[in-house]
């Protein structure tokens, strides 16, 4: 076969290595530089796990549910920029990864998901623990493979790693039938993978960059709007230089946070539904909008036809299908932010833009983020601020979805890229704990927090066992408001305060006791003035998990808020009535 020949050809220096499929798999993972695998064993993976038993250099982290494995790999990938690796068995093992894969797909996170499959001859026969996982995950993977010939196995692994991280990153799935894993085949070493038809564009079109620079130079009120793409491209420093050279304020999507230091004079905070007053107003008032690595998500734009109507738009993105998808742009530039931003910086004039900068300063002063303190409760925003103070922002924060996520985005002053992990695209509850666990393995000693609500925590709380088992030094912060807070907030504002099925106090466990039963030190904090001392206590524990539950006001809301489908200028600030 042709494929076999290329494999042999690449091995011309020494004899082609022939190994069993499971050995090929493990060897090619090692060749890819993989150190950690998040997984869960099962019937069809017996041989692979047997091989792992003999391969101590591959650190396999046993989770307690396959969804946890995908979120952990996702957290690892967000922190390191390397693909997170997941290994699960066929059937239910594979289907349990679906939410995690979709989460990663929506946020362009590189994962390589290895799923066991029933033997080739049984595929399609409703075999025990069979599921068509390639079919199931087709719309939520960047690419996927079913390994039919053992000689393709290691080449496919290398291709998968390349596809996962290159261009716009995303999850890649490899389905591994049991029999193929047990056949002998030829090892393909990691080479520069050349996949015909797959050629991500990195370099921006110079004429387009020129045109964009000209537009920026004429602008009086330019605004840079960044997304996760800037962080993924490792272009945060380049971005800061661009902003400073042109005195251009910067706003970020939830995934762009950390790219520009929060306390930077030119930074306006987050944009969109729960964005700052200043950022949302600047979007509406700017005359040139420079979108970089952002995709004009509906949570950012609000009502599309009233989004930034006074501006001409430049859009830099590595994914051509993101350009003019939602908002028509005047100057599209396809390529890598890391390449394009410096090119553009060279061409733009250093300008003061005093009137624009002054009005932004005024807005910031007049409309800061603010919250009220309620007696007898801990303010969730205060907890976030305190964590920021105590760590100096030098930590990694994984959040869940909903109010806890938005408060963290608003009140934690992210000043480092790859420090804020959250499921912004899919909005997956239960993300924070496993993601924080995964992140810990790539955090290089940085403190890792998992901040969640009482609802989200209960969606993946089984991973407390993983944290306990590996002494993962993750600090778990539960902001307990006894509700599914964000949905309750919508019910309060838009459904006449009819709290249909959002009150979850009944049945919710005592989190501290629960954690204790896993052998995890944990406390319940009910007073605002105790927050700091408990957080300090948590900060002292660096060799195992630690859990703090905070009793926060049940009906605390996230403000400002742009109602779904409204224009960004129609913000509710919470001080109405």
């Amino acid at each position: 076969m042709a494929l076999q020949q290329t494999a042999v050809k690449k091995e011309k220096d020494d004899k082609p290595k022939v190994m069993k499929g499971y050995e090929l798999l493990v060897q090619s993972l090692i060749d890819e530089g993989v150190k950690h695998i998040f997984g869960y064993p099962g019937g069809v993976l017996l041989d692979v796990y047997d091989e792992l038993y003999r391969t101590p250099e591959l650190n396999h982290i046993l989770v307690r549910h396959e969804q946890g494995a995908t979120h952990a790999a996702d957290g690892f990938a967000r922190v390191t920029g390397k693909p997170g690796v997941v290994l699960v068995t066929s059937g239910p093992g594979a289907t349990n990864t679906v939410t995690g894969i979709a989460t990663a797909y929506m946020d362009s996170i590189p994962l390589v998901v290895l799923t066991g499959q029933v033997p080739s001859k049984l595929i399609g026969f409703d075999a025990f623990q069979e599921a068509d996982i390639v079919g199931i995950t087709r719309p939520i993977t960047k690419h996927s493979y079913l390994v039919k010939d053992v000689n393709d196995l290691s080449r496919i692994v290398h291709e998968a790693f390349y596809i996962a991280v290159s261009g716009r990153p995303g999850p890649v799935l490899i389905d591994l039938p049991k029999d193929v894993l047990n056949e002998k085949g030829v090892l393909t070493r990691k080479e520069d993978v050349d996949i015909e038809g797959y050629k991500p564009v990195y370099k921006g079109h110079s004429r387009q960059i020129q045109k964009a620079a000209e537009l920026i130079n004429q602008a009086e009120r330019p605004l840079i709007y960044i997304g996760g793409g800037v962080i993924m491209a490792n272009a945060s420093q380049e971005l800061q230089k661009l902003a400073e050279r042109g005195n251009m304020p910067v706003t970020a999507t939830i995934h762009g946070l950390g790219s520009m230091p929060a306390n930077h004079e030119l930074f306006l905070g987050m944009v969109g539904m729960h964005g700052t007053w200043t950022a949302n107003t600047a979007i509406s008032e700017c005359d040139v909008l420079i979108a970089i690595g952002a995709r004009f998500d509906d949570r950012v734009t609000g009502r599309v036809n009233s989004f930034s109507t006074k501006s001409k738009k430049i859009h830099i993105d590595i994914d051509p299908s993101c350009i003019s998808k939602i908002i028509k742009v005047n100057i599209p530039i396809v390529g890598d932010a890391k390449d394009i931003i410096p090119e553009m910086t060279k061409l733009i004039e250093s300008k003061q833009r005093k009137p624009w900068i002054n009005s932004i300063k005024e807005w910031k002063k007049e409309h800061p983020l603010q919250y009220k303190v309620s007696d007898g409760f801990v303010s969730p925003q205060y907890v976030i601020e305190k964590i920021n103070d105590l760590t100096g922002g030098d930590c990694i924060v994984a959040v869940d979805v909903g109010q806890n996520q938005m408060w963290t985005a608003q009140y934690f002053g992210f000043n480092q890229p790859r420090s804020f992990l959250n499921s912004g695209g899919l909005g997956t509850m239960g993300y924070s704990l496993p993601a924080a666990i995964g992140a810990s393995f790539g955090a290089k000693g940085k403190t890792v927090f998992a901040i969640c609500g009482d609802g989200g925590f209960q969606m993946n709380m089984q991973e407390l066992a993983t944290a306990a088992r590996y002494n993962v030094p993750v600090k778990i912060i539960i902001l307990n408001n006894e509700y599914l807070g964000m949905v309750r907030q919508w019910q309060q504002l838009f459904r006449g305060a009819r709290y249909s099925h959002t009150w979850i106090k009944q049945g919710t466990p005592d989190f501290a006791k629960l954690a204790n039963s896993f052998g995890i030190e944990a406390y319940k904090v009910t007073k605002q003035d105790e927050v700091e001392s408990y957080l300090k206590k948590a900060m002292k524990v660096n060799d195992k998990p630690f859990l703090l539950e905070f009793k926060v006001p049940p009906e605390e809301n996230v403000y400002p808020m742009v109602p779904a489908g409204a224009s960004l200028s129609e913000m509710i600030t919470g001080s109405e009535k």
Partner: protein, 163 residues
């Protein structure tokens, strides 16, 4: 809402086809016709897809098609001159009394009779979709028993006049 004709060149590897069709269904769109076979090089397959829809959405689908790892080229032929053919096999009720009339009709459409039985004939017709539609319209009076159509195959017209 207009009918769009897309030409896609891709490697017909495992799962490539559902990935292509999935981009249409994922947008809530239907594929009206789809035909494919080996292209100019045997390792590549050329597919012609027609779908009715909003121009922006089709453009979005075309961009996403192009992103697929196994896809090398995507062209929306709709806005440019292109040649298009479809082949149809139409089985028509044809008792003795109607046969000569059916054969005459087939001649007008430059169609061929490729099968005959005591009760029916099968007509093979090639042409633009509209021509096939017209032929079917004319044959309907005799009673159409079965139809198999390939859907459009299309290529860009190489000589593009300015007029």
């Amino acid at each position: 809402m207009k009918r769009h004709t897309l030409s896609v060149l891709f490697k017909n590897k495992y799962n490539a086809l559902p990935r292509i069709t999935g981009l249409f269904s994922g947008k809530g769109y239907n594929i009206d016709s789809m035909s494919f076979g080996f292209g100019e090089e045997p390792e590549f397959t050329r597919m012609t897809i027609t779908s009715v829809g909003d121009k922006n959405i089709i453009e979005q689908i075309a961009k996403q098609l192009h992103k697929l790892v196994d896809v090398t080229k995507v062209t929306d032929l709709t806005e440019q001159p292109f040649v298009e053919r479809e082949l149809a096999l139409i089985k028509v009720n044809a008792p003795q009394t109607n046969r000569s009339e059916i054969m005459q009709l087939a001649n007008i459409f430059r169609a061929k009779i490729i099968d005959i039985s005591p009760r029916s004939v099968t007509v093979e017709i090639t042409g633009k979709r509209e021509k096939v539609d017209a032929a079917m319209g004319m044959l309907e009076q005799f009673g159409i028993v079965e139809v198999a159509r390939t859907g459009s195959v299309a290529l860009k017209r190489e000589y593009q006049s300015k007029v």
